[in-house]
Symmetry: C2
Subunit: 121 residues, 2 copies
DNA sequence: CTTGAACCTGACATCGATGTTAGATCCTAC
DNA sequence: GTAGGATCTAACATCGATGTCAGGTTCAAG
C-alpha cells in the first residue's frame, strides 16, 4: 500500500510516517517512480511505534528495540544486547511509574467528575 | 518554607515552581524582601501538579481543575462547571487510552527483556 | 495527452515545560 | 557590616515529534 492508505489505516500523519522512515523505524520499498510502497505488516508496526512513542521512548531507542520484535505480535525476534536490556529495564521502570501516576490522576479526575454530577443530581 | 526546600522535597526544580506560580497553579506568600514563602500544603499540591502534567494535561486545564480539589487528598472542594466536567471526561478517556498503551508497551518490553535473559541463561 | 489527486523533498514553524544564564537583591551567620 | 549562599526577575535556549508550505514529480483515469 502507499503512504496515504497507511496513514488512513493507522491514524498517523504522512509527515510522521516519513519521519519514522528517516529515523530508521520503518522501511519502505519504492516504486520505479520513487513512491513508497508498504507491506501489510507496516500497519501493525506503525501502531506499535506509536505506542512506544506514547510510552515516552525516543526514536533512537525505538530503533534499537524494533529489531528485537516481530511485527505481528511484538514478540522477540533478534536478541537484545546486554546494554540495550539495561536500557529497557530502566524504561520499563519509568513506564511503571508513569502508569501509577496516570492511575492517580484518573482517580482524581473521577472524584471531581463524580462530585460534580452528584452536586447536580 | 522557601523555594529551595520545596524544590528539594518535591523533586521539582525551582524553575518549574516559579513557572507553576506564573501559570496560576501555585500561590506563595512573600516575605518583606519579596521571597516566596510556601505553606506545608504546597508539597502535596506540587506533587499532584506533577502527576497531572505527567498525565498530559496542560497548565491551563490544571489551573481550572485545581480549585475543585483539596490539597491533601485530591478530593473535591469547589464544584466543577459543566463545561469543565465535559473537558475532564474527555481527559479521563485520553488517560485511559494512555494507560492501555503503556501496559501494551510494558508487555512488549517484558517480552524482549525476558527473551534476552533466557537466551543468556 | 491531459488533468487532478497523490506523492516527493526540503525547509521552516510550533508547542510547552524546563534548563540556563546574568545581574541584582535578600537573608543569615559571623 | 560583611561575606556568601539563597532567591529574585527576565530573557533566551532546548528538545522532539509533528504541522505546514512551496515547488516539483508521479500515477491513474478520462
Amino acid at each position: 500500500m502507499r503512504i496515504g492508505e497507511l496513514a488512513r489505516r493507522t491514524g498517523v500523519s504522512e509527515r510522521s510516517l516519513r519521519y519514522y522512515e528517516q529515523q530508521g523505524l520503518l522501511v519502505a520499498e519504492r516504486t520505479p517512480g520513487g513512491q513508497r510502497e508498504y507491506p501489510e505488516q507496516a500497519v501493525d508496526r506503525v501502531i506499535r511505534i506509536q505506542e512506544l512513542f506514547a510510552a515516552g521512548l525516543h526514536s533512537k531507542k525505538i530503533a534499537q528495540l524494533l529489531p528485537c520484535m516481530r511485527d505481528a505480535d511484538g514478540g522477540p525476534s533478534a536478541v537484545a544486547t546486554p546494554r540495550l536490556v539495561t536500557d529497557l529495564v530502566a524504561e520499563r521502570a519509568r513506564i511503571d511509574r508513569m502508569i501509577t501516576d496516570l492511575v492517580n490522576s484518573r482517580d482524581v479526575l473521577d472524584e471531581v467528575i463524580n462530585a460534580a454530577s452528584q452536586a447536580r443530581g
